[in-house]
């Protein structure tokens, strides 16, 4: 933060972002109590390190970087955060190329039914939360930053201090794992059944084929 940014401006920025910070912390830490502690600690660290923000316009990614680091480095010891998965982004992840759409989509029903949209209609917020919470830590962080908080890949690379290529590959695999978890949960809950024909997930058509 520039030296000229006083406590009042800092407070205004933090207050404006508090819901977002807590939302991200909640999905990272998985429970409200820990999430609130992570946010409070991150806000304290942000104030202490306010001179490290050179461009006040970049306050949001800057404080999310502090929030994410606070979670990843300071709070791993609590039971909500398994440590075994920390480095798994370098390994092949089962489900990493899974596509929910390909499981559900039924091309032959295209004109009178839409099972994938019906599936999404049945998916509740708690189903999505459960699937995000089940992600390994390294994957959860990119999904939270990209899909929940809407940061660009470049911003995420800065927040997590990894190359942008790592963000791309980690996010792609994380989404596959997330979709697989949603699918497995949906099957268990009886929301859907697997389709039998999996070979027609994509058909190119010409403009003339469209009605």
């Amino acid at each position: 933060m520039s030296a000229s940014m006083d406590r009042g401006v800092f407070e205004e920025q933090v207050t404006g972002l508090l819901d977002e910070l807590l939302g991200a912390a909640l999905r990272l830490a998985k429970n409200r109590h820990d999430a609130e502690d992570v946010v409070a600690e991150a806000v304290t660290k942000a104030w202490e390190n306010r001179n490290s923000l050179k461009d006040p316009e970049r306050f949001r990614p800057w404080i999310f970087r502090i929030l994410t680091n606070t979670f990843l480095t300071d709070c791993r010891k609590t039971s909500a955060r398994p440590t075994a998965d920390v480095r798994l982004d370098d390994a092949a992840e089962p489900g990493g190329s899974f596509s929910l759409f390909e499981e559900i989509h039924q091309p032959f029903l295209l004109w009178w039914s839409n099972p994938e949209q019906e599936f999404l209609n049945k998916v509740l917020r708690e189903d999505v939360e459960r699937a995000v919470d089940a992600l390994p830590e390294a994957f959860r962080a990119v999904v939270v930053l990209a899909d929940l908080e809407g940061f660009s890949y470049q911003e995420i690379a800065g927040i997590l201090d990894v190359p942008i290529g790592t963000v791309r590959s980690r996010l792609a695999r994380a989404r596959g794992v997330l979709q697989k978890a949603l699918w497995e949960h949906a099957k268990e809950a009886g929301l859907t059944t697997s389709r039998t024909n999996t070979n027609e997930a994509c058909h190119e058509t010409s403009q003339d084929d469209r009605v």
């Binding site: 406590r7 800092f10 407070e11 933090v14 207050t15 508090l18 819901d19 977002e20 807590l22 939302g23 991200a24 909640l26 999905r27 609130e36 946010v39 409070a40 806000v43 304290t44 104030w47 929910l100 759409f101 989509h105 091309p107 295209l110 839409n114 994938e116 949209q117 999404l120 998916v123 917020r125 999505v128 939360e129 995000v132 999904v143 939270v144 990209a146 899909d147 929940l148 908080e149 809407g150 660009s152 890949y153 791309r168 996010l171 792609a172 989404r175 979709q179 027609e200 997930a201 994509c202 058909h203 190119e204 058509t205 010409s206 403009q207 084929d209 469209r210």
Partner: protein, 79 residues
């Protein structure tokens, strides 16, 4: 402007999520967009992924609440 290259389903799907994230370069973005204009199945998949993204976004929405807001306010006042 140069004509947009026609790409197939495989290439379009490879780039679909980055397309929806608006993370592709302008040329590749137009190629995927063009493919989605002519391929019903990939278009459906794009719609599906977009709605799923919206569901995820929704899962990130949280309200700090009065009690936590007060805690942070007190913390800030102490700086």
């Amino acid at each position: 402007m140069k004509p947009v290259k026609t790409i197939g389903c495989e290439e379009a799907l490879t780039h679909l999520l980055e397309y929806l994230d608006r993370e592709l370069g302008a040329v590749k973005h137009r190629e995927v967009e063009r493919h989605l204009d002519i391929c019903r199945s990939c278009f459906s998949r794009g719609e599906f992924e977009q709605r799923l993204k919206a569901k995820l976004r929704e899962a990130g929405r949280e309200t700090a609440g009065e009690s936590f807001g007060e805690r942070i306010k007190l913390l800030l006042r102490g700086f």
